[in-house]
């Protein structure tokens, strides 16, 4: 299964974190640091795979892609295929590109709940859910459409739901 999806910039600042096994914030910080240390030490034009058992435990590997100022990293165990994971990153990036038109680091930071929606449509509970960026886009757009419409409707029962909420 996929253990984590990490997006960080080339200075090691996390931009998107999703761990499929819960990690407390301090641990997350530490993991990010060690992953960054490994990745920043790797030259260009080498493979996109790193054995990560020192960081994430035995049998784990990570695949990363370095695009512009960002690292996209998928951490997974040996029930997945490295090349396939590399393509999954591709799906993720393609989808973001469709979503934001020329995606840049800021888009990712600023819209990170949308990013999470995208990741959730691609990976579900650590397993690959969808690999067509078109389908992912459709799902995400559907969500945003319904979110908007539900907002406009919910003006009336606001007070009621507000009371219910408390």
């Amino acid at each position: 299964m996929i253990r984590a999806v990490i997006v960080m910039n080339t200075q090691g600042k996390p931009r998107l974190l999703k761990f499929y096994d819960f990690q407390p914030p301090e641990k997350q910080k530490e993991l990010i640091r060690s992953v960054f240390a490994v990745l920043s030490g790797r030259p260009d034009n080498v493979s996109n795979f790193v054995e990560a058992d020192a960081i994430f435990g035995p049998g784990t590997r990570l695949v990363y892609k370095h695009l512009a100022t960002l690292y996209f990293i998928f951490v997974f165990d040996n029930s997945e295929n490295e090349l396939a994971m590399l393509d999954l990153i591709q799906v993720f990036v393609e989808t973001m590109d469709r979503c934001f038109k020329n995606v840049c680091e800021l888009d990712i930071v600023f819209n990170f709940n949308k990013m999470h929606a995208i990741v959730d449509e691609i990976i579900f509970g650590g397993q690959v859910l969808e690999t067509s960026s078109e389908q992912v886009m459709k799902a995400v757009e559907e969500i945003s459409r319904l979110e908007k419409s539900s907002n406009s409707i919910s003006f009336v029962p606001k007070a009621v739901s507000g009371r219910f909420g408390r």
């Binding site: 490295e82 090349l83 590399l86 819209n111 990170f112 579900f124 509970g125 397993q127 690999t131």
Partner: protein, 966 residues
């Protein structure tokens, strides 16, 4: 800068970006200021300020919900940067109750990121999740499923399980898909909770929607991993699904980069690999579809290669099929030849899988492998080391371990250092060609990774040095010891040594430092005192050092010589006598007491070279039998074993196998293991332990061990229970360094020598000729550097000599081959079995071009048949059989069949026969094959020379090597 510009642009566009996400300007400001932060400290300050603001604001009464959503998102952001935002968790939980989809989703997102599955607040969300799973809006259902995946733990699964199961019949396929995956997640959390639902997963395999079918493969993969046999009936379904997918029967929307549903294919291939593993009948069903995929697979795209790689994995896992193997090998070589590092990595991995089935195939990729080994890419390098580790044999172990150690020295990553050190140790213990080499290798490993290796390894090394090699040759043993002492005295000059290595050094110096009289007593003692001063060492090393000093003094006194205490030694003893450690104190006092004893007493306290004497340990405490008997007669209660007393089993052997391993080298007495207050006051000795041994319930541990090792070691329950028993476990060591099992070598050698005796007149001529041909072939291959070739040859050609070497030299030199006891390496190189390496070598040098296999190549062998005549029926036979594959002679030699007597003898005969053809060829001059001819002749010449050298080992030898390897 780039980043700032984009931020500026974003700002200029106003809240355009926020139109979708609805973020506030404040959040944008926060992101912006963090983006501009120049240092980590500044960033932290900004975030802490932000958290303070949020803490205040979020607690205000009647925060508008829109605003609250913004706060929550900012909290998530703060926590992503590693700051605690726990004060806001409750608000995130509240938000999940909201009716608005956008807010609810934000709430769910926040709680899945904030909370672990055992957080106290989870209980407040369960109800919401339950309600949302029944919602009419499928997006709410999806959000709830996502949250359930993350937040539901073993205890709360039953609360939501019925709803999730109902969703398996949901009209939307997206929901069905997620429901299947959520159930899979539940299975991972707690297998028992969904075990009754397995039939549902099987059913979902036939879902109308391929996506749902694909999702059901994930849980099925897990089930099959657990228990292969219950799912054999699904093989045909899997195969037909895979076939349909591969034949593009799925809707176009499932295509990815022109590949039909690659992820489904990959998962199916993984499943089939499990199902077909070691099962001929099942594998039979799989062959067709596999070869289909091999044929159709697009190798230009990344994902195509992913599927191809999975096919290779599948081929290597199922029952072997020659045709598929060929396809797999072909695909692997494409990977290896690719420029992409990713594909090379996959290639190396595939090669590692395929050589398990057929070790020969590494041969043709030797240069690619060497390239990967020298690649700057660390990942690739490590993968290649993994491959080398898998293909190590006694013949190439030296090269491989040397490489590994070099790499180990060059890296800083402790985790990997440990791993590679333990691999070096494992290989060295398993394949060491000579003990000298073993000790040198161990020294290197200790020197560079000393504190990372298992302490067991150190004990093994000491044991080896002290016991020698299980042979009676005292001379060789003592020589080894003195060379160990030499090397350690040299190494002590190094500035920083790991403590474990210092322990070994101290022990060896104490035991053998003065044994050969080469070093003065005071010199060794001085060195030992230096050890404790020069190196920062712990109490254990000090204890080793003082014990070593004590031993040396004792040996001196026992020999009737006077020991003079050096001042530094005296101060060392004084220091230890005042030590905080009682152990060190005792040792120091013991030493002082020992010095005052007379020689005879000392001699019996610490006899010379008695380290490997067996200490008889009476585990049964039989000397107490009389006492026990008496007590029982006097009316005492007989001892009941602990397991009986407490009425439960498996208590006495709860220790993990690892602990046992580690402890096996120190003396341990099981009786001290478990100080448990026993309910019945019994005299412990009253256990005449004959009983206990039978009653110790081993199965528990046995099971554990089998779990761990079962796949590797075919240990029957008897074997492991014997291991686990109460005995000290020394067997692991014994195996590696026990008596040699091969002894057939010398006879073969002598017979080979006999035949060559008396010839050799015409050998020189052939040799010079052969050298020319070697040069020729080398000139033809200028693009491959000589060094690489040499490395490749030493790594791979070795597999050729392997078959022969094992029976001949093995680990220990046979006594028969007289003069070579000293120069082990020389001796090995001339041992008759090795002649094959040399005949092979010229061939190796021109591996770049495929030698056209043509009929004339066989000619010499046909000639040979005629020459030898029918009188030698046996030889004739063996020649005709191998004559058929004569062009592939090398290939057959490289084959990694276990060295059987018949095999080595037959190849011996072949070379013998070849040699005699050579004799004939001198008179008859058969027309040699165009290409192979000179090579073969050359090989024959070499062979002859080797034989000659084998009889009288002279200075020729190294030269011979240089000729062959350039």
């Amino acid at each position: 800068m780039e980043q700032l510009k984009t931020i500026g642009r974003e700002l200029a566009m106003g809240s355009q970006g926020g139109a979708w996400a609805g973020q506030s300007k404040e959040f944008l400001d926060l992101v912006k200021s963090i983006g501009e932060a120049r240092s980590k400290a500044e960033e932290d300050r900004i975030i802490l300020l932000e958290i303070e603001t949020l803490r205040r604001r979020i607690a205000e009464p009647d925060v508008p919900r829109r605003r609250m959503k913004d706060y929550i998102i900012r909290l998530v952001y703060a926590e992503m940067l590693g700051h605690d935002a726990s004060f806001g968790y409750i608000h995130a939980v509240k938000m999940t109750h909201d009716d608005s989809l956008a807010l609810k989703r934000t709430g769910y997102l926040a709680v899945t990121l904030f909370l672990s599955d055992d957080h106290d607040l989870i209980i407040l969300i369960i109800n919401t999740i339950q309600k949302d799973l029944r919602s009419d809006n499928y997006l709410i259902v999806c959000a709830a499923l996502t949250a359930a995946c993350k937040l539901i733990n073993e205890e709360t699964i039953p609360a939501v399980l019925p709803q999730v199961v109902d969703l398996l019949a949901h009209p939307k396929e997206a929901v069905r898909k997620k429901a299947v995956m959520a159930l899979h997640r539940f299975y991972q959390r707690s297998p028992s909770s969904v075990s009754h639902l397995i039939s549902n997963f099987r059913k979902k395999l036939c879902d109308n929607d391929p996506g749902v079918m694909g999702a059901s493969l994930y849980p099925l993969f897990d089930f099959i991993t657990e228990d292969v046999n219950s799912y054999k009936d699904l093989v045909t379904s899997f195969v037909s699904v895979l076939k349909q997918v591969a034949e593009r029967k799925l809707p176009k929307t499932y295509d990815y980069h022109q590949m039909p549903a690659p992820f489904i294919q990959i998962k199916l291939l993984k499943i089939l690999a499990l199902l077909g593993s070691g099962d001929k009948q099942t594998s039979g069903h799989i062959y067709n579809v596999l070869s289909d995929i091999f044929r159709k697979c697009e190798t230009s795209s990344n994902i195509g290669n992913a599927v191809l790689y999975e096919c290779i994995c599948c081929v290597s896992s199922i029952y072997p099929n020659a045709k598929l193997m060929d396809s797999a090998i072909e695909a692997t070589s494409k990977f290896l030849k690719s420029d992409s590092h990713n594909l090379k990595y996959m290639g190396i991995d595939s090669l590692g899988r395929l050589i398990k089935i057929n070790p020969d195939i590494a041969e043709e990729h030797q240069l690619a492998v060497i390239d990967c080994l020298e690649d700057p890419d660390d990942t690739l390098k490590r993968k290649t080391f993994e491959l080398l580790y898998k293909m190590t044999k006694s013949s190439n172990v030296e090269v491989i371990v040397d490489r590994m150690i070099d790499y180990m020295i060059s890296i800083n990553d402790n985790h990997y250092k440990t791993e590679i050190a333990s691999r070096c140790v494992a290989l060295a213990e398993q394949f060491a060609p000579s003990n000298q080499w073993f000790i040198q290798t161990m020294n290197k490993v200790f020197e560079h990774a000393g504190d990372l290796v298992n302490v067991r390894v150190a004990h093994n090394l000491m044991r080896l040095i002290s016991e020698g090699f299980g042979e009676d040759d005292e001379g060789a043993d003592s020589q080894l010891r003195s060379s160990a002492v030499d090397s350690y005295l040299r190494i002590l000059g190094e500035p920083k040594l790991p403590s474990l290595f210092l322990q070994v050094i101290c022990w060896v110096l104490g035991e053998y430092g003065t044994a050969d009289g080469k070093y003065a007593v005071s010199y060794i003692i001085g060195k030992l005192c230096d050890v404790t001063e020069a190196h920062l060492c712990n109490d254990t090393v000090k204890a080793y050092a003082i014990s070593a000093i004590m031993k040396i003094c004792a040996f001196e006194i026992a020999a009737g010589r006077k020991v003079e205490m050096l001042p530094e030694c005296q101060s060392f003893i004084d220091e230890l006598s005042a030590s905080h450690s009682t152990d060190l104190q005792q040792r120091a006092y013991e030493l002082q007491a020992l010095l005052s004893l007379d020689s005879q007493a000392v001699g019996s306290v610490l006899p010379l070279d008695a380290s490997c004497e067996d200490i008889e340990v009476d585990k049964e405490l039989s000397f107490l039998n009389n006492f026990v008997q008496q007590s029982i007669e006097m009316g005492a209660n007989p001892y009941l074993p602990e397991s009986e007393q407490l009425g439960m089993s498996g208590v006495s052997n709860f220790r993990s196998p690892y602990q046992q391993e580690a402890s096996s080298h120190t003396l341990r007495f099981e009786a001290y293991e478990l100080p448990k207050p026993s309910s019945i006051p019994v005299i412990p000795q009253a256990s005449v332990l004959t009983q206990t041994r039978d009653l110790v319930p081993v199965p528990g541990t046995t099971y554990y061990r089998e779990n761990n090792l079962g796949s590797k070691l075919p240990t029957g329950p008897e074997a492991s229970s014997a291991d686990v028993g109460i005995k000290l476990r020394l067997d692991g060591v014994q195996k590696k360094w026990g008596k040699p099992t091969y002894s057939s070598s010398s006879s073969g050698a002598t017979s080979a020598e006999k035949t060559t005796n008396g010839i050799g007149a015409h050998q020189d001529g052939i040799r010079s000729q052969s050298r020319d041909t070697v040069y020729d072939s080398r000139r033809q291959q200028p693009e491959v550097s000589a060094e690489k070739q040499r490395l490749a040859a030493s790594l791979f050609s070795s597999s050729a000599s392997k078959t022969e070497k094992k029976p001949t030299s093995g680990q220990r030199m046979p006594k028969g081959s007289d003069a070579n006891a000293e120069k082990s390496s020389v001796a090995r190189s001339v041992s008759p079995g090795n002649s094959e390496v040399k005949t092979a070598a010229p061939d190796l040098l021109d591996f770049g071009e495929p030698v056209p296999i043509s009929a004339p190549t066989i000619d010499p062998f046909k000639e040979l048949e005629g020459l030898i005549g029918p009188a030698q029926a046996v030889i004739d036979n063996s020649i005709t059989t191998s004559g058929v594959q004569a062009p592939d002679l090398m290939a057959t030699l490289y084959m990694d069949t276990p060295p059987s007597g018949s095999r080595s003898s037959s190849s011996g005969l072949v070379s013998e026969g070849v040699y005699s053809t050579d004799k004939g060829s001198h008179t008859a001059k058969p027309t040699p094959a165009v290409k192979k001819g000179p090579n073969l002749q050359d090989a024959l010449g070499k062979d002859a020379t080797v034989r000659q050298v084998g009889v009288t080992p002279t200075g020729n030898n190294p030269n011979l090597f240089r000729d062959l390897l350039g």
